[in-house]
C-alpha cells in the first residue's frame, strides 16, 4: 500500500494515462461505495448486485473521457450506479421478478451512505491521536477509563479530548462540503 494516497483527481489522471495499476486502485477505492448503493439503497439480490457492480466499472472505463472534472469522480460514479440500479429494477419489474422498492427509501439510505463516507474521509485527515480516540469511543464502545489506560492520558481529560477531536472533524466535514464538487459530465 502506498504511503501517500493519490487524490481522486490524481488517480483519475493516472487512469486516463493508461496506468493499469491506477485502474485497480480506482476499483478498490470505490467498490465499497458502489456496493453500498447497490445493496443498501436499492437492495438488489447478490447476483444482480454483482452484475450492476461490473457494469458500473465497465462503463467508467469506457466513459472516463466524458468526466469533465477529475475531482468529481465519486459523485459521477454514484450517479452512474444509481442510474444502472434503476434501469436494472425497471427491467426486472417488467419481467415480474422483483418487488418494487419503497418510494423514497433509496434516497434516505443514499444520504446515510454519503454521510458515512464523508465522515470516513474526514477522519483520515485528522491526526492519528484523534482518529484513535474517536475510534475507541464511538466504534469500539470503550469507556473513558479504558481509553485513558490504553493511551496513557489522564482519565479526566478523555471526554474533553474527544470533544476537541470532534470539533476538528466537524471543521474537516465543513471544508469538504464547501469544496465538494457536483457530478460533472454525463455519467
Amino acid at each position: 500500500m502506498p504511503l501517500v494516497t493519490d487524490s481522486d483527481a490524481e488517480l483519475v489522471a493516472r487512469c486516463r494515462s493508461g496506468d493499469d495499476e491506477a485502474w485497480r486502485e480506482l476499483v478498490a477505492r470505490f467498490s465499497r461505495y458502489v456496493y453500498a448503493i447497490v445493496i443498501q439503497a436499492y437492495r438488489l439480490p447478490a447476483a444482480d448486485a454483482e452484475d450492476v457492480f461490473q457494469e458500473v466499472f465497465a462503463r467508467t472505463y469506457e466513459r472516463l473521457e466524458d468526466l469533465r472534472d477529475d475531482a468529481s469522480i465519486r459523485p459521477w460514479i454514484g450517479q452512474l450506479t444509481r442510474r444502472l440500479c434503476v434501469d436494472h429494477l425497471r427491467s426486472r419489474k417488467r419481467e415480474g421478478e422483483l418487488e418494487p422498492i419503497e418510494q423514497g427509501a433509496p434516497d434516505a439510505t443514499l444520504a446515510r451512505i454519503e454521510e458515512a463516507l464523508s465522515i470516513r474521509e474526514g477522519l483520515k485527515l485528522l491526526s492519528a491521536e484523534c482518529q484513535e480516540i474517536l475510534d475507541r469511543f464511538f466504534s469500539r464502545d470503550e469507556s473513558y477509563e479504558t481509553i485513558s489506560g490504553a493511551l496513557g492520558i489522564p482519565g479526566g481529560t478523555v471526554a474533553s479530548r474527544i470533544s476537541r477531536c470532534l470539533a476538528k472533524l466537524r471543521e474537516q466535514l465543513a471544508e469538504g462540503r464547501t469544496a465538494s464538487p457536483a457530478p460533472s459530465g454525463e455519467a
Partner: protein, 172 residues
C-alpha cells in the same frame, strides 16, 4: 427507544434493564443540556455527541441484559455448571452498564462546571440518575457473581460506583 417502549421493556424483565434505561435517561438529559449550551461552551457539541452515543449504548445494553437474564433463567434446570456459566455471562452486561453510566456521570459533571444555573440543575439530575444506574448495576453484578467473590469485576465495579459518586459531588 421512546418512553412507552422503555416502560414496556421493563415488564417481565430484569433489574439490569431498569439500570441501563436509567443510565440512558441520564445521558439524554446531558445531551439535551449540553446542546443548549452551544453558544457559551466550546465543547458543548462534543459533549452532546458523546452523551448521545452513551444513550444509544445503554439502550442496546438494556436489550442485551434482558437476553442474558432470560438465558440465566433458562439455565436453571440444566445443572450447576450451566447455571454458573449463564450467571457469569449475566454479570458482564451489568459491568458494561456501570461503565457507560459512570461515563455519563462524568459528562454531567463537565456540564455542571460550565457554571450556568440552568445547566447545573439539569446536570445534577443527570448525575443523580447516572450514579443510581451505576449503583444498581453494581448490585446486580455482585448478586450474579455470588460465590465468585474473588472476581476482579467486583473491584472494578466498586471503583465505578466511587467515580460516579465523585462526579455527582462535582455537580453540587
Amino acid at each position: 427507544m421512546d418512553a412507552p417502549t422503555a416502560i414496556a421493556a421493563l415488564e417481565n424483565s430484569s433489574g439490569g434493564v431498569a439500570a441501563a434505561l436509567t443510565g440512558a435517561l441520564a445521558a439524554a438529559v446531558v445531551a439535551s443540556s449540553a446542546a443548549a449550551a452551544r453558544e457559551v461552551w466550546a465543547e458543548a457539541g462534543g459533549t452532546a455527541a458523546q452523551a448521545a452515543k452513551l444513550q444509544r449504548r445503554l439502550t442496546i445494553l438494556a436489550k442485551q441484559d434482558a437476553e442474558a437474564y432470560a438465558a440465566a433463567l433458562d439455565a436453571r434446570g440444566r445443572g450447576d455448571q450451566a447455571l454458573g456459566d449463564a450467571l457469569d455471562r449475566a454479570a458482564q452486561v451489568p459491568l458494561e452498564i456501570a461503565e457507560a453510566a459512570s461515563d455519563v456521570a462524568a459528562l454531567a459533571a463537565d456540564v455542571a462546571e460550565q457554571g450556568e444555573l440552568a445547566l447545573r440543575v439539569d446536570a445534577v439530575v443527570a448525575a443523580t440518575l447516572a450514579e443510581a444506574a451505576v449503583r444498581a448495576a453494581a448490585s446486580l453484578l455482585e448478586i450474579n457473581l455470588g460465590v465468585l467473590a474473588e472476581d476482579e469485576r467486583l473491584e472494578r465495579v466498586r471503583a465505578l460506583v466511587a467515580a460516579a459518586s465523585r462526579n455527582l459531588e462535582r455537580c453540587r
